[in-house]
C-alpha cells in the first residue's frame, strides 16, 4: 500500500513543533482521514476539531501545505505526496492544542453587529429579486478560513480594529435585506474598520462555499460608505431627493 509523509503541528499557545507521521494512503482519502488515522493508530492525543466531514460544519479548518483549507475537503490526490505534507492550525487565532484554535474572538465580534432591525409596522412581504442578493451570504459555514487568510488579521494583527471578511459578509446580508431598517454605515467606517481592507481577495479565494466575499459584500459596503462619507455629490442628491 502506498504511503505518504505528513508533518503535523503538535503544541499549544506556548509553542510547538512539527511531528512527522507516515500514513498509508488509500483512494479517496482526505487530510482529515489522515488525522483520524494518526489519532487511531499513533497519537490518540492529537487534538483536532471536526464534526460533519462533509464541508458543511466549518470545524476542521487548518493550513494544509500552507493553504487555509477544510481538512475534510482536501483530497490527497490533489496534493504532491512525493514530499511531506504540512498540516498546521489556523495562524490568525491562538492555538489551544495541536490543530484546535480558539476562535471565540469571532463570536465576540458578532455580538457587536446591530442585528436585523425592521420598521415597527413592517409588512412582512418580500419578493425574490430583493432577497436573492443576500441569499448567497447565508451559505457561510463559519469556518473562519477567510478570517485566517485575511492579512489584516493574520499579518497585521488588527483584531481590535477590524472585524474581518466573515463579519463584513454578515453586515452586507443585513444591509441588503429589504426589510431591514438599521443603519450600520457609521459602525462600518469607525468600528468595523472596513477601510483597512485593501481588497486583495484572499478571503474569496479561501472560501470553501465559494461566496464572492469581496465583489458581492465588501466592495458594495465600501461603496455605501463612500455614498455616506466621501461623495459630496451623492450627499447633495440625498438632500434634494431624500434618502435612497
Amino acid at each position: 500500500m502506498a504511503e505518504a509523509t505528513f508533518r503535523v503541528f503538535r503544541g499549544d499557545k506556548n509553542g510547538g513543533e512539527e511531528v512527522e507521521y507516515t500514513v498509508p494512503v488509500t483512494e479517496g482519502m482526505v487530510v482529515l482521514d489522515v488525522i483520524h488515522h494518526i489519532q487511531g493508530y499513533t497519537d490518540p492525543d492529537l487534538a483536532c476539531r471536526w464534526n460533519c466531514k462533509a464541508a458543511k460544519c466549518g470545524s476542521c479548518s487548518a493550513e494544509v501545505n500552507g493553504k487555509p483549507s477544510l481538512m475534510c475537503k482536501t483530497r490527497l490526490d490533489h496534493l504532491p505526496l512525493d514530499r511531506p505534507v504540512t498540516v498546521h492550525p489556523l495562524k490568525a487565532f491562538p492555538v489551544i492544542k495541536d490543530l484546535a484554535t480558539d476562535v471565540s474572538w469571532n463570536f465576540e465580534v458578532n455580538k457587536k453587529i446591530k442585528p436585523f432591525t425592521p420598521k415597527p409596522d413592517t409588512d412582512w412581504v418580500m419578493y425574490q429579486p430583493d432577497v436573492e442578493r443576500a441569499q448567497e451570504f447565508r451559505k457561510c459555514i463559519e469556518c473562519f478560513l477567510c478570517q485566517n487568510v485575511c492579512h489584516v488579521l493574520r499579518e497585521h494583527d488588527k483584531h481590535d480594529n477590524f472585524i474581518g471578511p466573515r463579519f463584513l459578509v454578515r453586515v452586507a446580508s443585513l444591509e441588503m435585506h429589504p426589510l431591514d431598517n438599521g443603519n450600520r454605515l457609521e459602525y462600518l467606517k469607525d468600528e468595523a474598520g472596513i477601510a483597512l481592507c485593501n481588497i486583495t481577495k484572499c478571503c474569496t479565494e479561501a472560501c470553501p462555499e465559494e461566496i464572492h466575499i469581496t465583489d458581492n459584500s465588501i466592495i458594495p459596503l465600501k461603496e455605501r460608505v463612500v455614498d455616506e462619507y466621501y461623495d459630496p455629490l451623492m450627499r447633495l442628491l440625498r438632500k434634494f431627493f431624500g434618502k435612497k
Binding site: V149, H156, N198, I199
Partner: protein, 269 residues
C-alpha cells in the same frame, strides 16, 4: 510512526515566508512584469511625441487633426490635448492621461493587482509580508483617495464616448481633394478593439454596479413591481464577473493601439 522534526520558532519569519509549496510567486511576478512593462512604455511614449500621434493613408492629411484616420488612444480626445497645449502644459498629453491613470489606479481590481504584484501587501495569500502594526489600509492618505474612484468613473465614461468617436475616423480616409471615403485597415480593427475593451472595462466597474442599482435597499419595494435598477444592476453584475479580464484586455489593447500607430508614423524607427 512519529518523529519530531524541530521547533516551529525557527521557521517562517520575514517577507515572503510561507509554508505554501505551490508556485505562489508566479502571479505577483507576472503582474509586476506586465504592469511594469506598460508603465515604462506609456511613460516613454507620453514624453516621446510633442503632438498627437495620428496617421492617414493620405500623407498630407495625417498631420491635420480633423482629417486623420488613426489617432493614438493616448491622445484621445484630441481637443483635450489641444486645450492642454493652449494653457501651457509642458506635456499636454497629461491633460488626457490623468483620466485613465486615475480610473485604473483607483479601480477595485487594479488595487488588488498592484497591492499584490507591486507592493507585496500581501504578495499572495498566506504569504508573509512586511508586517507592521502601523498598517492603515485605505483609511489614511494617500490610499483614502481610492474613495474617489466613482469620480474618475464619470470622466472615464466620457473617454469611452470619445474613443468611439475616433473609431468613426478610423474607418474613413480623406483623399487629396478632401473627400471622405470608407477605409479599413489593421489599425481600424486595433482601434476598434481598444474602444470595445475600454467600454467593457468601464461598464463592468464595481462603482457603476453600485450606482446603477446595487446601492438600493431593494429592487421591488412597496408594491412588488420590479424597478429598472434591478435590470441594470443585473446586467452590470454579469459584466462585473469579467472585470479583471477586461482590465487586462483594455490595458493591452490601448498599449498595442498606441504602439501600432507609432509604427505607422515611424516614431519607433
Amino acid at each position: 510512526m512519529a518523529n519530531s522534526v524541530g521547533s516551529l520558532e525557527s521557521k517562517s519569519k520575514g517577507f515572503g515566508a510561507t509554508q505554501r509549496s505551490d508556485l505562489w510567486w508566479l502571479q505577483p511576478a507576472a503582474t509586476f512584469a506586465a504592469l511594469g512593462l506598460f508603465v515604462v512604455y506609456a511613460t516613454v511614449a507620453a514624453f516621446l511625441a510633442p503632438g498627437p500621434v495620428t496617421w492617414s493613408p493620405n500623407e498630407a492629411a495625417s498631420s491635420a487633426l480633423d482629417s486623420h484616420t488613426y489617432l493614438s488612444p493616448f491622445y484621445s480626445p484630441a481637443w483635450l490635448f489641444s486645450l492642454g497645449n493652449s494653457i501651457g502644459f509642458p506635456y499636454p498629453v497629461f491633460a488626457i492621461l490623468w483620466i485613465p491613470l486615475g480610473f485604473r489606479m483607483t479601480c477595485y481590481f487594479a488595487r488588488r493587482t498592484y497591492y499584490r504584484g507591486i507592493m507585496g501587501d500581501p504578495a499572495a495569500c498566506a504569504v508573509a509580508e512586511f508586517a507592521s502594526r502601523n498598517y492603515k489600509g485605505e483609511s489614511k492618505f494617500p490610499f483614502i483617495l481610492q474613495n474617489l474612484h466613482r469620480y474618475f468613473l464619470y470622466f472615464a465614461i466620457m473617454l469611452v464616448v470619445f474613443h468611439w468617436f475616433d473609431i468613426f475616423h478610423a474607418f474613413r480616409s480623406v483623399d487629396a481633394a478632401g473627400n471622405h471615403e470608407f477605409y479599413i485597415g489593421i489599425g481600424s480593427i486595433v482601434l476598434f478593439a481598444d474602444a470595445l475593451f475600454l467600454t467593457l472595462y468601464v461598464f463592468s466597474c464595481h462603482s457603476i454596479r453600485h450606482l446603477l442599482g446595487g446601492g438600493s435597499k431593494c429592487f421591488t419595494c412597496k408594491d412588488g413591481t420590479e424597478k429598472a435598477t434591478h435590470k441594470t444592476w443585473g446586467l452590470v453584475t454579469k459584466l462585473n464577473a469579467y472585470h479583471g479580464l477586461f482590465f487586462w484586455l483594455s490595458l493591452f489593447a490601448v498599449g498595442f493601439a498606441d504602439f501600432y500607430v507609432r509604427v505607422l508614423v515611424g516614431h519607433l524607427e
